[in-house]
Symmetry: D2
Subunit: 346 residues, 4 copies
């Protein structure tokens, strides 16, 4: 039984991690940390967990986490993950960082885009980018997992097979993404302007071509396509709770048909439990993946322009965050990969 | 006083045309045609018009329209516009077609994309594409106005200045559009799948690279950019009533900055009453244009990739349909162009 | 392992029954009937089940259901349930009717409100109203379960303890209910007017004081309060997918406080796995019960008027339909009552 | 030309007042006060007013308002209205308070429910409750208008005719109200919890039987029904921008039919430009009144229980606030009552 600790247990990500692990047959929650609600029952603080779990929140305590857990999820904003990872790894505890500190190979990229010093660059060699479909083998032996951002997950999954097989050019890729409001977090932020009246009946772009997830997408696509890949990336908000629709455009390198591309992707992802591929882009809908760990992908080749259009749909909170982290955890501990993730909505 | 007739008065477009003309000081509604509701009071059939207008619906009657109107809006699906335009024009009545029959210079384009014969190709020479910002001078003396589609309006307005001035390349333009559900019409359609449960908390692409509005966009952009311009066009639905967000991507032909582009567009549209241009794409929001005739446009140059990103926001029912038609009507009859359109929401 | 059959497998209720049973450890789906999609894979017909279950739909076949199932869920509109129940019961198969045919003690009530003849009134004596919190003991040995309507579930649960204990008067009860759009079903209906444009940014009452669920509420409340109880019942639609908020008003029979009432209800429902009671009505929120089998209940006594205000929140599809049916099934077969229902969202 | 000043010009109410007056032919905006944005162009601060009005915001300045306006709208939270009303009235300027300070006849009621001292109780005798349908004659000569709350407007309009004519009992009235999120204001408030994720796909009650609008409802209904009238009042939030649905329940004093009640109300409100009465409650929909100054009202008599059910629908921002205030202003200055309010959406 894998013992699980969560730092930042009462945030949006923390709560959904808890909700997922409650239903996990091979893992159990042992330490739930919340500095502002320590001493309280989790169900009293988080209504969706009332009667679902009886556990008392504790203040964040590295020593206790080191002793009473096998894996710790860092679901708290700020430098905490970089401060706590070294002693936890030292104690043999696996760390999954839900933030950006362990996603980049090069600490300079992190420092440039997150505008803060990396506190443990030496640990990056032990960290793995936690996207099972592209890093499963390294996840098996990772000490630290840098859990991917939601936008990168939605962009990397449809494009990786095509870039690796040379079907599309690495130049001129455009990624136009549309996220539900849960992507902005559960507390008020003037920057994300996440009031109902600002979001409902509205859509708008933000962080145009400057979003932190852009270098993450470029790093991962460069792995398969070679250095120097750059993308145009524009994130938008759309008025719904859960879901991330990614529209990617790329130039075909040769005269491929939609069928060619679909077949190639199906072959590439054969056996993947959470990838569903469609030969009709209009069958990729947020509604079909909401509350699940699926990534639905569709491709269309526009013969008139020789452009490939790829669309993916994920639940930004699940496949774009919490579900992905649990999937990696299952791999890391040799548990059935779909445990707590399939045949149930979250 | 311009006398106005509407064919298809109780549809979504018909109702909003009526609502707009009620507040018009230089035009009056004289003949409202509805074949399925003839004899009834408009306010009893359309709740939003109750107490707003007292008028009896009549069956469609070309003779009466010819005698009692100066302009007729064809807001009914099907071949009616092509059947009624010839006698109306003959009688000296102006025609505004809210459908696609009079938008194309070449009847063959219409026939290819609408899968039906054009019934009066000879009249196309008297028809003008009804986008005032790009065709104002021809609208003045038009006999027939082919009122633009909503997607074309959202795409043509931000791109025309840049193509005309050679700032962006005509090759490789990508248009990724997101429409509110009112774009699918007010009656149930299995194809548009416009039930609440199919739309709410959902987003999906449709008619990928095959939508009828694509040749319309290409025709209008080719006018300023030269022949052979082709676009990749993907329309999507997002869960809201009113609004159309258009994201366009194009290659810059030289090292232009965001400021260069914004200044050029502002100069191009100087004096336009319904164009607002922003130098920050994230300030272009559907919420700001809903229920108005504005088209808000923003530009960002992505220096890393030398790509231009343009975003426009319109209310698909107003600037994408009804408001546009009234704006053209004002021009056609020498009325103040903003009459019934500014300082009021619709 | 309980063998489960579903008639009407591809409807909204059918799909969610399947989704729930997929995760059930003591039951398995053996026969999925759909007359219009027989021969097809369930995952091809219902996108939310793609990759979740591999099963071929069959035409409705009573003999096969009789042989290959232990329990059949009738999730198809129309008289089917009344036609199929007799042979199934005869064959020893349990029947859960998701419609109204087996909810009433008196066939005349059914015939009056459903405007159709009851085809097997003799079977009503073997049928139990399937609300575990009020009929658990009878469910254990039921042949047929009349699964409750969503509105009755939301109304009966908060009021039953207070009526049984005589805390509120049985005269003058008002029930004002607000349902999400999934309550209107998954196909277009002019009567329920469930297009996006008719529902979004809207709310309205319907079937005012004439809804079929009214006699059902009265039957069940009369059981504990005595004959002659009548309620004022007004259902409304609100723009969301899942959820049913019930507001009930009743006169207190004596000078009870909010604490008195809350304590009484907590005592009454002690041990109930899916009832959560709050002493602050504003803590009862649809968001907290969506995708779960919980019924959250809050009470406030208005001292100024000696009126009791009760609010309940359920997911109309789960606790108001599918979850309730699975809960009853668990009871019927001696399975842990929360199997497939707790620690997971549906 | 009536000169209009607004204090709190950039708030939600302020912006919509401006939007309404822009289209007013007999009034003009002369002083727009905003302490936090003084010196800025209104269109730069409020995107919905960009290009609609060119005016510079000024710091709140009583002297200037006294000189340059004929009427001032107090649209700022806090005690400002009570501080500024005395000098403005002294200077002969009319005051419309959009808050609660001038709604009550008795300052003690204000002090009890608003938990703050009334700063100018002596002025209450010059103040009129600004609901034209019930106070038109007094509004004509008012110095100060206490503009009604949205919930009271929705409750008073359907119930007043019936109470005045003795058709319903003044005892046991229940008012169950459902407001869109714009009712909570445009800035974040932990109490109103108006984040998108807290409101979307949710509904909940708040301020149960303790809301400040309750004594306002009671005061106004007591005027026609006699002292001692008390109501049970429960406000809720529903996930939409604009709209307030009020469900009221009352006991009939005699054997009236729905037709009786509808006829009585139609007679009572004959000639009212913004009241529409329906004999079918399900025809009262928020969608039909959104962005208008209408109050739609429906009645149903439940013969089984001798209860009257009344439903009203208003746009909480328009008929529940801004439109009401402009309607009163029109009356006050002898302008056509529907000026800037009819034949246009706001």
């Amino acid at each position: 039984m894998v013992r699980v600790g969560i730092v930042g247990a009462t945030g949006l990500v923390g709560q959904y991690l808890i909700k997922t692990f409650i239903g996990h047959t091979d893992a159990q929650l042992t330490v739930l940390c919340s500095d502002h609600a320590s001493g309280q029952q989790i169900g009293d603080v988080c209504p969706i967990l009332k009667n679902e779990l009886y556990a008392t929140l504790v203040a964040t305590d590295v020593d206790r986490l080191a002793k009473e857990t096998d894996i710790v999820f860092m679901a708290k904003k700020g430098p905490e993950a970089m401060k706590m990872a070294p002693p936890l790894v030292e104690a043999g505890v696996k760390v999954v960082d839900m933030g950006g500190a362990f996603r980049f190979d090069d600490p300079a990229t992190y420092e440039e885009w997150y505008k803060t010093e990396h506190l443990c660059p030496g640990l990056l060699k032990d960290a793995v980018y936690g996207l099972p479909e592209t890093h499963r083998k390294e996840i098996v032996s990772a000490e630290i997992i840098g859990n991917p951002g939601c936008y990168p997950t939605g962009a990397i999954l449809p494009l990786t097979p095509l870039l690796e097989k040379g079907v599309i050019s690495k130049d001129g890729i455009i990624i136009d993404s549309f996220s539900g409001i849960s992507g902005t977090g559960a507390t008020y932020s003037a920057a994300s302007r996440n009031l109902y009246l600002q979001c409902n009946e509205n859509s708008r772009a933000y962080s145009v071509a400057t979003h932190r997830h852009m270098p993450e997408i470029e790093q991962e696509l460069s792995r398969v396509a070679g250095d120097g890949l750059k993308v145009v990336f524009v994130p938008h908000l759309i008025p719904l709770d859960r879901g991330l629709l990614t529209n990617a455009f790329a130039s075909l390198t040769s005269d491929y048909s939609t069928d060619d591309v679909v077949e190639l992707a199906r072959e590439y992802y054969r056996g993947e439990p959470f990838i569903r591929i469609f030969d009709d882009i209009s069958r990729v809908e947020l509604l079909h993946v909401a509350h699940t760990n699926y990534c639905d992908i569709g491709y269309t080749v526009d013969k008139r322009t020789q452009q490939l259009i790829a669309v993916s749909a994920i639940d930004n909170v699940i496949k774009g965050s919490v579900g992905l982290a649990v999937q990696s955890t299952n791999i890391l501990f040799g548990i059935e990969e779909t445990s707590a993730l399939k045949n149930r909505a979250i």
